[in-house]
Amino acid sequence: MIIHQLSVFLENKSGRLTEVLETLGSENIRITALSVADTSEFGILRMIVSDPVRAKEVLKSRSFTVNLTEVISIMAPSEAKYYAKVLKILSDLDNSIEYTYAFSLGEKSVIILRCSNTEEAIRALKEHELELIKASDLYKL
């Protein structure tokens, strides 16, 4: 149930994001989801990709600072109340959410979550009968 998200450190310099995407493209690595967190000087690019281990190696060989981060992923109806429910479960446990992003597949949406205690979050979300996505399924989306 643990998803390995690819995180890349980026300076705010034009062309760096393009370089990452071109590198992954040339290796036929697919991107399921992507989000950028940024400050005025640098940013962190976060991606769910089809082959995170290989993607990390490829980017490392091109001198990027890369890390694999454990996140979880939930499939839920595309309605705000379901997103709220997920977040409420975690905040009731004092399991703080470091960041989250989501994308819609129409009727349903995929929520990506990074929280302070991943194992606990998985247990709790399962108990509330939420649908967690397996890594292999998410990479294929």
């Binding site: 450190f9 760096r16 640098f42 962190i44 001198s63 600072t65 890369v66 990074r114």
Partner: protein, 433 residues
């Protein structure tokens, strides 16, 4: 704590000043009459031997630099006939012609005396086995330690450098208690011990005296942890005498200078003015007992500061701080002296980063600006903005408190900063004067 020469090392500072002034007068007289180079320089400045009565007059005398030694290569600044010289050493000369130094029989005795103080300072005595892994030869390290060790009656093992495998074997077999070498070689030996699967209990080492190259507090901790010894910093340079000029005591709050032999001053490397106590600047030495090669106000290029308060060990000899860097690299930012090595030492103290950095100095609206680019370490990178921003802020705060200057810190991707062969480019000064 043992003190080798309580009479001088714990002397009342007023009394010491008298001793220093008397020795200075003799030295100035000697160089005036025996070294044409110094006589000419003094005459040009309108000075005679009588112009220097106490150490307060020292500032009137001109400086001596490494270039002066080179210009007078090899023996031009010697103050005695060669028949009086019993030993010659020379520096490696990587940055030009080598500098040659000569010793009379008395100079060798002085050197042994100050080295005996150094070793006693580090807690050694006649019961110690001293493993000397400094090079023996033209370099002053090996023989300097050797004579000092014999003087205190310790058992000296003159291993010299190289053949690390054998060094490790001897450390075990002879049960050496003190290690003397460069700090980087100490780490090398520590690794070799690990590789040879030698248990720490098989060693009797308890202390090491390390010098001859700059090293950080981080390196000290690493040596102390890996070898489980106390690591003592020692300082010296062949021009002044060799090792033995200054040494840390077991209190480890600065290095005691044997100032009854070597009179220290701190100067501003740009204006050449003598700086007051506590200010950081270039260390300058006047040798006040040497016969073979007396040096007047010799500019070491090493940066440090002095403190004159009495040490907890009981010694009254002035203490110098661990050297901060070389004056050749100094920048002046908004009137404040800044050395890239200061930046480096702050970065080295932080485990989250490696010291790959670039300082960029510029002038915007007549105001100097300082920017530091530092590479994010892969091992530290964990995908949180708050963590990176926290790190950036921490570097900035640590630097500002150490440098006393505002600085803008930016994190950059690893390996984006130029790596050059040998010396890395650490500073870009865009200001136009």
């Amino acid at each position: 704590m043992e003190i080798w020469n309580r009479h001088f090392e714990c002397m009342d500072r007023e009394e010491l000043k008298g001793v220093q002034s008397e020795r200075l007068r003799e030295t100035v007289e000697r160089v005036y009459f025996n070294v044409p180079y110094y006589r000419n320089k003094m005459q040009e400045a309108g000075l005679g031997p009588e112009s220097i009565q106490t150490t307060d007059d020292l500032h009137k005398l001109p400086f001596t630099t490494k270039q002066d030694l080179r210009d007078n290569y090899p023996f031009g600044l010697f103050a005695v006939p060669m028949s009086e010289i019993v030993r010659v050493h020379a520096s490696s000369g990587t940055t030009g012609k080598s500098t040659v130094v000569g010793y009379t029989r008395n100079d060798i005795a002085t050197w042994s005396e100050v080295m005996a103080r150094t070793l006693t300072c580090a807690g050694a005595n006649r019961h110690d086995f001293i493993h000397v892994a400094y090079g023996y030869g033209l370099f002053t390290g090996g023989l300097g330690l050797h004579y000092g060790g014999e003087k205190i009656g310790a058992s000296v093992i003159p291993v010299s450098g190289g053949n690390t495998f054998r060094q490790v074997q001897l450390l075990v077999d002879f049960g050496s208690t003190m290690l003397a070498c460069t700090p980087s070689y100490a780490l090398f030996i520590a690794e070799a011990l690990e590789e040879a699967h030698i248990r720490r209990d098989d060693l009797k080492l308890r202390v090491g005296v390390f010098g001859a190259e700059p090293w950080t507090e981080n390196m000290r901790r690493e040596i102390e942890e890996k070898l489980r010894i106390k690591a003592i910093d020692i300082y010296g340079l062949s021009e002044v005498i060799g090792p033995g000029v200054a040494s840390e005591c077991l209190v480890q709050e600065g290095l005691h200078i044997s100032e009854d032999h070597f009179y220290p001053e701190i100067i501003d490397p740009v204006t050449l003015e003598v700086l007051p106590e506590g200010k950081t600047g270039e260390l300058v030495f006047t040798t006040i007992t040497k016969e073979g090669l007396p040096l007047i106000r010799y500019r070491t290029r090493d940066l440090t500061r002095l403190r004159y308060d009495k040490c907890r060990c009981g010694r009254t000899m002035v203490r110098m701080e661990k050297c901060l860097g070389r004056s050749d690299d100094m920048l002046i930012i908004r009137g404040v002296n800044l050395f890239p090595s200061q930046v480096e030492s702050v970065l080295l103290e932080m485990s989250e980063i490696k010291p790959h950095y670039l300082l960029i100095v510029d002038r915007v609206n007549n105001l100097d600006t300082l920017e530091l680019k530092v590479e994010v370490d892969e091992e530290f990178f964990q995908d949180k903005i708050s963590q990176l921003e926290g790190l950036r802020q921490k570097i900035q705060t640590n630097l500002e408190s150490t440098l006393g200057l505002g600085i803008k810190v930016n994190l950059v991707e690893p390996r984006t900063l130029e790596r050059s062969e040998g010396k890395a480019k650490r500073v870009i000064d865009k200001r136009k004067f």
